[in-house]
């Protein structure tokens, strides 16, 4: 145990949950096949497993079954997949795919696929070398490489089925997200908003790798795939070519809105949902307007890419609030009837509940301390930015909460239909902004911003929050020393798993938040826990360690703790991380004895 960290908030501060939900598994998969075929577990992105062998009564007996190192020291943000009796893992750059044979003791490597990657463009790709996972469909494993290739590999043999390059590292594009495969199409998006990249989501034919459609996040309607069936709920999102007119002339061409987060799919409505990154690369005063369609969410037809609705979380974003987080699709009792909703823990600090057929905001409640905005108008859907918390060159702005990585970044939450709670790994960070530093890029000096991040109210930098989306409040919270940058996993055993950057892999009671079991890993955890049923019929829980990513760059990128403004100011908030963890890259698989 680590002092005050990992401890539940004082009783009374957050009321203990008396769930309104009957214990019926609403939204739960009908059949639990014990596999884990996509990082989010299911199209609804619940990250909930129906396996219950490991439960709150016996989880304290969880033991290490076997381990595996991928020999890679970059940040491990990915999720392993389990299909049949094989576990698959795609490493951080250079993005090697491993297949481990679960039928044999210790799960030896069955095959190992290495994609040819560009190392020549050294220094051209910007900062992140993470990969957030692969996806399985129709006998193939699909994943992205940092240098913009999408790869399909035969899941049985490791033979490459196809490999296509759909972006250009020389233009600042990279790919880090996990694909989603829907109706024979592999959906993938790009990263690199800070490099002047124009964001897109692309659908590739799963059989051939040919591009079926590409939807840009900025520009004319024809490029954004906005047509007659586009019916956004709010007036501010209606009109011709808003992806052009909500920018100064031409600024949309480098406007960002990259698609590096998560995609969900509702087979009933036949819609995919995904978020777009922040606008860039102009300083905000040079890009007046809403900067559509950045920092928002699209609903699209998966066959054609045609947009159905859009909602903008942070119009004219000035805080780097990418809008790419996961969209959890739930059917919730709201206002006396069951609504088909998206629950979304957004970077700007609000927990949104949206009607997923229309894009209407049903509620938006702060789940962290917020100073950067004053709320969301539920009539108009309008986000209310706080003008005094707007960074502007020549000014010093202190106490901007949440900070640039937001209340919650990409790290995915989980939902348990048994408790009705969302389990949200997130940050508790604020920042100061100061424009003073002389900086230098490509032979050109400029005045750089000095952004310093630090712990928000309470002095802890991370939280693990159980959120009740119906009662619109937290059921309980666990404070953590560092931002909780790992994913969450909820199971039918009423146990929730997550990892911390100071090397704890924890199992907590889904109802009370009590820590039931924990294991000290070799390196900090920013990966996504999964669970599966092995060929021996037992339930296993798996997690990769390997600290890194944006908050862990101080360790994985060997940044100096003196450079408080390095990694966009994140180093300032993480200068003690090297005292807690070194680099890593090991898979830990646990089971009951």
């Amino acid at each position: 145990m680590s002092g005050e960290y990992g401890a539940k908030e004082k009783p009374g501060e957050w009321p203990a949950l008396r769930t309104m939900f009957p214990a019926t598994p609403r939204n739960a998969p009908v059949v639990e096949d014990g596999q884990w075929v996509m990082p989010a577990r299911d199209y609804a992105s619940t990250r909930f497993s129906g396996l219950g062998e490991i439960n709150r009564g016996n989880v304290k007996g969880l033991r290490l079954a076997w381990t595996f190192s991928d020999g890679n020291f970059y940040g491990h943000e990915g999720a392993p997949l389990v299909v049949g009796s094989t576990l698959y893992w795609v490493s951080p750059f250079p993005n090697e795919l491993f297949a481990l044979d679960l039928t044999k003791p210790g799960a030896p490597v069955k095959w190992h696929y290495k994609p040819p990657v560009q190392t020549a463009a050294q220094g051209v790709a910007c900062c992140d070398k993470v990969n957030r996972g692969a996806a399985y469909a129709d006998g193939r494993i699909f994943f992205n490489t940092l240098d913009n290739q999408v790869v399909a590999v035969d899941a049985a043999t490791g033979a490459e089925a196809w490999r296509v390059r759909i972006g250009d590292i020389n233009r600042g594009e990279t790919m880090t997200m996990a694909p989603l495969v829907v109706k024979g199409k592999v959906l993938v998006g790009n990263s690199g908003g800070e490099m002047g990249v124009r964001g897109w989501l692309t659908a590739l034919d799963a059989a051939t790798g040919r591009t079926a459609w590409r939807a840009y996040s900025t520009g004319p309607d024809a490029d954004v795939l906005i047509g007659p069936n586009f019916k956004p709920h709010y007036a501010q999102d209606r009109g011709k070519d808003l992806g052009v007119t909500s920018w100064p002339p031409g600024a949309w061409e480098t406007g960002g809105g990259t698609v590096w987060g998560w995609i969900s799919y509702d087979p009933e409505l036949d819609l995919i949902f995904y978020g777009t990154g922040n606008p860039g690369p102009w300083n905000p005063e040079q890009r007046p307007g809403d900067n559509k369609w950045t920092a928002g969410i699209f609903a699209r037809d998966p066959d054609t890419g045609e947009a159905r609705w859009f909602y903008q979380w942070s119009p004219h974003d000035v805080h780097d609030y990418d809008g790419v987080n996961e969209n959890v699709l739930l059917d919730l009792p709201i206002g006396g009837r069951t609504r088909k909703v998206i629950v979304r823990a957004e970077r700007n600090g609000y927990m949104y509940v949206l009607d997923r057929a229309t894009g209407q905001v049903l509620s938006a409640d702060p789940f962290v301390h917020i100073t950067s905005s004053k709320g969301v108008d539920l009539k108009t859907g309008a986000y209310q930015p706080n003008p005094t918390a707007t960074p502007r060159l020549g000014t010093v702005v202190r106490g901007i909460c949440p900070s640039a990585p937001g209340a919650k970044d990409w790290q995915p939450m989980s939902f348990s239909p048994r408790t009705g709670l969302l389990y949200v790994p997130h940050n508790n960070l604020c920042m100061d902004y100061e424009a003073l530093e002389a900086n230098y890029i490509a032979g050109t000096p400029y005045v750089g911003a000095n952004v310093t991040m630090y712990a928000g109210p309470g002095g802890h930098r991370g939280e693990f929050t159980a959120w009740d989306p119906v009662r619109r409040r937290a059921a309980w919270k666990i404070r953590e020393r560092f931002p909780v940058w790992s994913g969450a996993l909820a199971t039918a055993g009423d146990v929730v798993f997550y990892g911390t950057m100071d090397r704890w892999f924890r199992a907590v009671d889904a109802t009370t938040g009590k820590i039931l079991w924990q294991f000290r890993t070799g390196s900090g955890i920013i990966g996504q826990p999964v669970t599966f049923r092995g060929p021996d019929g037992k339930q296993y829980v798996a997690i990769f360690d390997g600290v890194g990513g944006w908050p862990g760059a101080i360790v994985s990128g060997d940044l100096s703790p003196e450079d408080k403004s390095a990694a966009g100011g994140f180093v300032g908030a993480m200068s003690d991380l090297p005292e807690y963890t070194e680099k890593g890259g090991t898979l830990y698989v646990f089971a009951l004895p």
């Binding site: 463009a121 050294q122 220094g123 051209v124 910007c126 900062c127 250009d168 590292i169 020389n170 233009r171 600042g172 908003g193 800070e194 490099m195 002047g196 100064p248 002339p249 031409g250 600024a251 480098t254 960002g256 922040n278 860039g280 690369p281 102009w282 300083n283 905000p284 005063e285 040079q286 007046p288 000035v318 780097d320 960074p391 060159l393 020549g394 640039a404 902004y433 424009a435 003073l436 530093e437 002389a438 900086n439 230098y440 890029i441 490509a442 032979g443 050109t444 000096p445 400029y446 005045v447 750089g448 911003a449 952004v451 990128g557 060997d558 940044l559 100096s560 450079d563 390095a566 966009g568």
Partner: protein, 291 residues
Amino acid sequence: MCSRFPEALTPRGTSGGEGPLRRLLLLLLLPLLAACAETQAKPSRELRVCADPNNLPFSNEKGEGFENRLAELVARDMGARVKYTWWAQRRGFIRNTLRAGECDLVMGVPSGFELALPTRPYYRSTYVFVYRRDAGFEVRSFDDPVLKRVKIGVHLVGDDYSNTPPAHALGTRGIIRNVRGYTLYGDYSKPNPPADILTALARKEIDVAVVWGPLAGYFAPRAGVPLEVVPVSPQIDLPFLPFVFDISMGVRREDVKLKEEVEAILARRRAEVEAILDEYGVPRAGRRAKP
């Protein structure tokens, strides 16, 4: 004189071309070189420099930039030879090169730079207005009314609130709709991506480019159309937005000895440094460049 031969063979640094003729020459000269080596030892010291392989007029892999020339100058004075580590000059350049111990010297950093230990400045340049000489207007200041009606190009750095100073200067004056941004990174598979903006000016896609002086001083005379290069004014926008920067060489923060050695060389070789900067047309603050 023996020591001149290797330089004559590869006059542009460590990775000159490898044509058949050159290989033949090398073969013919090898015995001669070997003989020379016996009488005059090759410099045993290495000056390890990190530089962008594709960013004229500063540096490139062929050694054609003024920073390549300055590296040769400093090395020669030290009795060393230059060994380059190439890395695109972007975010993380200093971290991945100088601070990672891949090299000991970078040729250009702002003198107020915090990530490295800067030498005393060896030049001061300024952002400049560049426009076609036949444009029918003149630009001297960010406050010139003409800037409200012509198409202006500026460089973009990134989205963390900061950009090149001209982008901010225009924004605070409400000059937004007629401004076009060119990312400094450009397309790195093409030569010298930051120079795109001057190509756009020559092609009349924009009417004025506001760029860092050395880029304009080098590329304006090569643009194919007569261009005017004029230092911006004011030199500082209040409260704090300078357009003029002192440029130093940079070493690791703890490398005080090397810093002092380089400073002494820069002082001793002042005239040669100035001559190289002149040759590349680097506008120095307070002086008007000759296009």
